[in-house]
Amino acid sequence: MTAIDTQMPARIGSLSNARVATILFAVAALIAIAKPILPDGLIRLPDWMILPWAPWLQAMFDFVREDLGLIYVTRTITAGLEFVLDTTGNILYGKHRWPYLGPISWASIVGASGVLGYWLGGTRLALIAGGTWVWTAVIGQWELAMETMSVIVVAAPIAVAIGVGMGIQAWRHRRVEVALRPILAVLQTLPFFTYLLPAVIFFKVGPTAAAVATIIFAIPPMILMTTLGLKKVSPDIVEAGQMSGSTRWQMLRHVYMPAARTEILVGVNQVIMLCLAMVVLTAFIGMPGLGAKLLAMMGSFKLGRSFEIGVTIVLIAVMLDRLSKAWIVKQPVHFEKGSPWSQRHFFLLAGIAAFVVLALLAWVVPYFHEVGRRQDLSMGKEIDFAIKWVLDIDAIQATTQWLRWFLNTKVLIPFRDSILWLPTPSAILLFSAAAYYVGGLRSALVIACFFGIVALTGWWDRSMITLYTVISAVILATILGIPLGIFASRNEKWSGRILLACDTAQTFPSFIYLIPAIMLFGVNDVAVIFSILIFAMVPLTRYTIEGLRGVPVELTEAADMAGSTRRQKLMHVQLPLALPTMAVGFNQAIMFAFFMVIIAAFIGTQDLGQELQRTLAGNELGKNFVLGTCVSVMALAFDHVIRRWVTDRKSALGLD
């Protein structure tokens, strides 16, 4: 079906897509101009059309929860989960629960992680792994970090197990795959508040709800990567397994799963990183740990401490990412026949030894067991002071203030006002016109339908504010990120550096990006835009570099031999070919922006995020879902159109 679609885009009569788009655009403009004479019902949907979705949904949830008895199921799960979380809590930070062994002294964990790091990736990773924990301990955030980790060590394995299981089912039964695909697409665009509230309502507030929200949030990529990996197993290996007389289970266990190891471990890496990102955000539902502390510190504007916690989170993110990525590429090493057991398991023994020796040391020297409140090296106040001092420098203050003024009065507010001023039908037509231009009738209908849903929920104005924030931030990110990518792609050294920076930045939990924004601009719209901007710039720059460097050498050489200047080569050869890849980055930037804009509710926005945050306090599950749907369909609308464009463009260029 798609093949036919790309060859013959749906047309109305003999009109081309561009012509129809222009007509739609003109109609949209006409409605906008005619606004003063339009009846109210055409400017915004009349009240009678906006159905009380929220109470209906609420009633449905209540029915499922109480009358169908879902609450008993979730309570059982809660009890089991709570037991596991209590156990890890006890071991990692000494929560007063069974098995009453913990906490493990920090020095032991440093030792064991160091050995693990060395085994996976040599000295460098040993230093990253050990160093992260040393920093965490001496800065006085050990307990916070362990609270966070105690959820991750439970959530990540569960998410991996469920994800792999569902991935296998999706790979085995086409129907499951078809059914899962739209669900996963929606899950990946739902704002995180929509994960949090049901978790709170169905599972106990605190670590249990946090773990549940984290698990659900982290599952989708695991499913996708598992299915992908299993599909990619080479037929020769499969046939070799069959000819060896493997049963179905043996095939899966001994042939498919090991052969799909790389993809599955990439999935594991993504699960771990999503777990960290989410667990930090579960601070909003009362999960203690690094996230909660960061939230509190930012709330009371203690920038120094916020900065330190930010550094800890970033270090942990980098460490988890590097370790799990090193695991992906780690190849088994062979031992000569007859090597003794101790030599085969050298690193395991070394790890245990480091753990035990340091535990004994910690027993003698209390400092290595726990860094006391007065012993930590936290310099929150001093950093606070330094930050304030820097920000008080006239030049900097003048710059940020001018930027704030300029962006606010010249760009943001006019843009916001105009998008809010547009009558609803006109706006929907406008978006559909753009979609028609790219993907023809089908895309236009999809987009009209998506924004129609937004209008029907009655949250149009709030949604438009969210949309305006996303669009302005992504445009600014494009203006900054693409030239940066073009510049970096010019030589090997710089592309390497910037790609590394992007890779690293991408592992940071999104919450972190609020810190510099608040530092520079305080609490306002510009800070929101700024935090989204840096978050969204990462994929844009990254895919620009990858797209440009991915242009086949023959083509650039042909351009060189045709005597083109650098600029001509860029404009006529490299950019056109890199554009589909860059568009993938653009799409990701928009998805990131939709995610970030909701988090920015914390700074005090006026959009859907703010309303979503409020539902948390009121346990309004119905409203929460309605708002979540608004965010999701808007994100899906962009996703649809951009993907469509990328596919068409790629087939037009004859790429893959």
Partner: protein, 340 residues
């Protein structure tokens, strides 16, 4: 070749790929060409193929890529289910085996070697070789012992603990061969086993393969797109085109009497003197005198080149393997083959 019942017997087998192969097969007419089928969205991977493989025989299936040779061998091992016809292995109808019986058959009787080796990347050489034994649940010590034996057989001793990525292509294929031999199969399928290797290594592996076959005497179905390789190894060659077998015969007969135009084209560039054996063109004595020293029927015309030029006899007697005279070789006819 033996007189007993064939080990593999394939009767009018069809394998059709497409949306609804059974339906399509039911309405097929005999003269429908490959292109006609393709126009309707169907590919006949195997088209009305009937071949027998006798015990201890090596049948080489030869054809260009896309000719259906790999599909045919996958039907013989039931990696593919055939659309129509029947295939029996040791008298058992392959198509009617349950999943369990099929697994059992593969665990006891069949071994297969693949073009790109199909080694499991996370297992050492020894573990790869022991894999089929592990699958059938043999205990650890026994399978280790057997695996070490086969590893030695293919000349990889000392590399048992290596991982596939640490081996060269030739060595990897030795592992593939060892794995397929681990269960001591009666039937051995080899799907272009040497095509991915460099020419020099290929030659070496062919010699190695002939050595193994001499030792083991398995029933073999060997696939190749390399005619020289086929001539070198085969007892009989089946030449395939568009899923159908064009000719299935001994190398001598294929070279001397190509059945179709397609086969003729294939044999045109072949140095026939290196292929044709004295026994193949020897005529029954029929009262003609038997004079002088005989030649062995296993010699190729090229082997006999000097003799053919120097000798003055018109008819040279030929002895079969057991030493009895089987007929006379017409010297002029042989010289024609040599000098063509």
């Amino acid at each position: 070749m033996t007189d007993s019942q064939p080990v593999i017997s394939c009767r009018n087998a069809w394998k059709i790929f497409g949306p609804d192969p059974e339906q399509f097969y039911a309405n097929i007419s005999a003269d429908m060409s490959f292109e006609d089928m393709r126009a309707q969205g169907y590919i006949a991977g195997v088209r009305d193929v009937s071949v027998d493989v006798a015990k201890g025989e090596m049948l080489v299936i030869m054809g260009l890529s896309g000719s259906g040779k790999s599909t045919l061998v996958r039907c013989l091992s039931r990696l593919h289910d055939i659309t129509a016809g029947s295939i029996t292995v040791d008298g058992q109808d392959l198509g009617s085996l349950s999943e369990k019986e099929l697994i059992e058959l593969r665990r006891r009787k069949m071994g297969m070697v693949f073009q790109s080796f199909g080694l499991l990347p996370h297992r050492t050489v020894l573990e790869n070789v022991a894999f089929p034994l592990e699958m059938r649940g043999q205990d650890k010590h026994e399978r280790r012992k057997r695996a070490l034996e086969v590893v030695e057989l293919v000349g990889l001793s000392g590399r048992e603990e290596y991982f596939p990525r640490e081996l060269s292509g030739g060595q990897q294929q030795r592992v593939g061969i060892a794995r397929s031999l681990a269960i001591e199969p009666d039937i051995w399928f080899l799907d272009e086993p040497f095509s991915a290797l460099d020419p020099l290594i290929r030659r070496e592996m062919q010699d190695e393969f002939l050595r193994l076959q001499e030792m083991l005497g398995k029933t073999i179905v060997f696939i190749t797109h390399d005619f020289d390789e086929a001539l070198r190894l085969a007892d009989r060659i089946a030449i395939m085109k568009d899923g159908a077998v064009e000719q299935c015969d001994t190398p001598d007969q294929i070279v001397l009497n190509p059945a179709t135009e397609y086969v003729t084209k294939f044999t045109e560039d072949i140095d026939k003197a290196r292929v044709v054996h004295a026994g193949a063109i020897a005529k029954p004595v029929n009262g003609e005198p038997v004079m002088g020293t005989p030649v062995s029927s296993g010699k190729t015309i090229q082997d006999l080149a000097r003799l053919l030029v120097d000798d003055t006899r018109d008819l040279i007697p030929v002895t079969s393997d057991d030493g009895t005279i089987m007929g006379n070789l017409d010297r002029v006819e042989a010289l024609d083959i040599l000098l063509r």
